[in-house]
Symmetry: C3
Amino acid sequence: MARLTPLRTKPASSAARVLDDWYVAARSDELRRAPLARTLLGLPIALYRGEDGVAGALLDRCPHRNVPLSAGRVEGRHLECGYHGWQFDRGGACRAIPGLCDGAAAGAKGRHVHAYPTREQDGFVWVYLPADQQPVAEGALPEPLREPFRFPHVDDPRYVTVRQTIDMRGTLHAAAENALDVPHTAFLHRGLFRGTGDRNEIDVEVRRWHDRVEAEYFGEPRPEGLIGRVLAPRGGTVEHVDRFLLPCIAQVEYRLGESHVVASTALTPIRDHETRLFGAVSFRLPFVPPRLGDAVARALVPLGMTILKQDARMLAKQTATIETFGGEQFVSTELDVLGPHILRLLRQAERGRAVPVEAPVVETTRMQV
Amino acid sequence: MARLTPLRTKPASSAARVLDDWYVAARSDELRRAPLARTLLGLPIALYRGEDGVAGALLDRCPHRNVPLSAGRVEGRHLECGYHGWQFDRGGACRAIPGLCDGAAAGAKGRHVHAYPTREQDGFVWVYLPADQQPVAEGALPEPLREPFRFPHVDDPRYVTVRQTIDMRGTLHAAAENALDVPHTAFLHRGLFRGTGDRNEIDVEVRRWHDRVEAEYFGEPRPEGLIGRVLAPRGGTVEHVDRFLLPCIAQVEYRLGESHVVASTALTPIRDHETRLFGAVSFRLPFVPPRLGDAVARALVPLGMTILKQDARMLAKQTATIETFGGEQFVSTELDVLGPHILRLLRQAERGRAVPVEAPVVETTRMQV
Amino acid sequence: MARLTPLRTKPASSAARVLDDWYVAARSDELRRAPLARTLLGLPIALYRGEDGVAGALLDRCPHRNVPLSAGRVEGRHLECGYHGWQFDRGGACRAIPGLCDGAAAGAKGRHVHAYPTREQDGFVWVYLPADQQPVAEGALPEPLREPFRFPHVDDPRYVTVRQTIDMRGTLHAAAENALDVPHTAFLHRGLFRGTGDRNEIDVEVRRWHDRVEAEYFGEPRPEGLIGRVLAPRGGTVEHVDRFLLPCIAQVEYRLGESHVVASTALTPIRDHETRLFGAVSFRLPFVPPRLGDAVARALVPLGMTILKQDARMLAKQTATIETFGGEQFVSTELDVLGPHILRLLRQAERGRAVPVEAPVVETTRMQV
């Protein structure tokens, strides 16, 4: 039987799998004594912290009987499988098989497991996913081609930092576009963020590099909603830049006089249509006494979560609709200043990184906000 | 690995998708200020009522970022998307894109959405599904080839009408055959409807047209169960006709002296194996004083729902079994007077409507009831 | 889009479908007045007990409208469909179609249903699944090629028998290997069974026939955990044999002086990755006064269930991981004394039974327990 015509959508998808790069697997404070089962780009990872405090990331499948290593426990610097007690080090080498009369035989061929480089910085645990996975062997940990993104100002004593984590049902691209999109704020977040006052026509400059794209908004009045009033009680014209950095960073930056807010979010594709957001908002508000900074931060968290949950609900509806129709069929306008560029960056990076450029390509447009 | 032999059922299915015709999308009293997300034959529809009271039916996907329009809100005669505020009229034309400096640009090519004709009558909102869906464009609402079915007697002051809605997990065909099948009532509804007294041998005449089929039962005593006793306390021989009318109407009609009951059900395939029944039972019972008509109706609703739920449970089991075996494998007898004919009508209508006939094809059989 | 390298596992599976053999469909005490819906190797079976007490097993699909016969009721020696009242005998022949004027017509061609031989013994109801399913016809019950396994000692007055039933998400092979695997007990059941004392090096002799494989452990000290202490309070060296018998029996046998424990489990594949375990543990403990045997048995049930649930949780994780990776990728060592042999037996039996052998093939190995 034929499907009704409008359901014959081409199976287009913005899902992207950029490899040879780093993704956040966990907040540092999530990784305690028990191993964590994490999924990055569909790949099951057993994340653990050795007794020396260093994080390890192993493919979450014991080579023996294919149970998840994350269901085991940490023994010294090793992760021990919960089924038969096989132990693996952070390089994936098998170090013990209980019951074997020849103890050295644990390290025989085929008994190792894929391992992934880790970095722990700025309060997050990053894992590197190589494009070409070597055969498993002792010491076969891949060599990263680059280092992970640094979250700005999280260690700067003049700044207060708030962290938020939320899962969104949608591609990394959908979550990044949503995080950096201005026009939806007047509708989806009506009253909370924008959409309460008169509209103003402003200029937008879009700047594109080989590995990032950013949009700067000129002449934008302070956002009218509650958030604007908290951040800039006396109004004024803000400096506002939104950025996407390969493979997974969405960043929103506001300056208004001495006030400075930078919200950086690492978007981790759990799988194609499921993305976990690890966000850190760092701000400096001159009119807030330093001793009240944390209190302001705590007060803003519920509001931030309300906005993020509105976004999460909308992305879930978007993804469900795309699944029903069998693919994405987007129509963009000049208001979609970053989304199409982000998709192009992701597609290019899936095929391999582009040649670095010194100066960006610059385009301008106008919109009403 | 081979599946066991009895599981190798050919993938036969009674699912049918008759287009160029009308289906009930909602009861009128369901469609209020908020849009409704409905699915007809697998097609997601955003159903809404403009502030002028007129119903609109749009494909439930915003062309911009593919979120469901049913998650938005009504603005005047338009439906506004909840993500970026795009507005569409009842013909599917895009009427506003907030933020665009050139307001007239909203109506540019590719920004419209598929729209479907609606009718609201007899307390139901009907939607027309065309076989050939035009490309989206302003004013591209399809022209219906026919008008929807009228529910008899729902506006007749001599009749009392009761409405019931229930979802059945099964094809439109399975639900229609079930609604019009006599023999199962003695088993599935034992005691409620039939199956308590002696069996009588009766004649059945089946009459087939190009777009409908009906069975008339001659010499049938009043049903013995509770329903028969309520409707005809003094017994007697009933006139009983069961009908199926393309594409979706199952109708059961009883006359006994001055008493008259007609139960018409519009069967809406939500998707192939999920059917929503919108039923209206209109009756005139001379022995019931008019002022008690509504009380009798209210008293009968729980009994009717009990019977419908027994049917729904059985159809769900039937559908689950068919799914397990990978297809239907039915064996009919002469007792299945309507089911095979209904399937033939549906199959013919899927290929295009048959040539109208003046006189029906008539066949007779006998059964024990 | 390519999947990440480690996810490209070949679709290997230990799922096996050995036919021409018997599987336990129910415990005798489960089969009462109401029919039971059971699934054996993916095949839906309506299991019922006629009023004469004899079990019948029919394909769980009425040939008329494909509803499950298990939703019907028992009438004498027949199973009656709950939708239209068709009745079937234990051979699958249709014996009644209510409403047909010609009563004898019930038995017409195509109205019968597949039927399966049954045996009821040792407190279990067995069903025979033939490799080649005949077309349905009266009297077409297949002739079994063999008789089902007898549970030893369940009727022996010197023994106390405890029965346990549990579902495991995993193949028959995974459940059998788990039931007969020694090394995992020190990790998964740490403290309950083994894993609390020093390790000892022991000899293992593996003996293979055409239809079974067993491992005998020599010089094994009494298990250190709670179970060992209950069964052999004075310690000593146990005689310990683990066995797998085609198509579905896992058996663990311990002797220590006059004490004797034999745990036999019939593993029924509900479907490829879901296995129901019907276990009977029979034991004779000379130091327990006969009148306390049942009390000891009742006291051991919660401990046994704790162990089984630990196994069930681990097999569920194993199966989920295998599904995520798209197949099994096992690496065995000499400690896996039975698993690989069980898989070879199952694969051979899927192709047809091997030629009987008189003497087993014998191999020996050593392990630390």
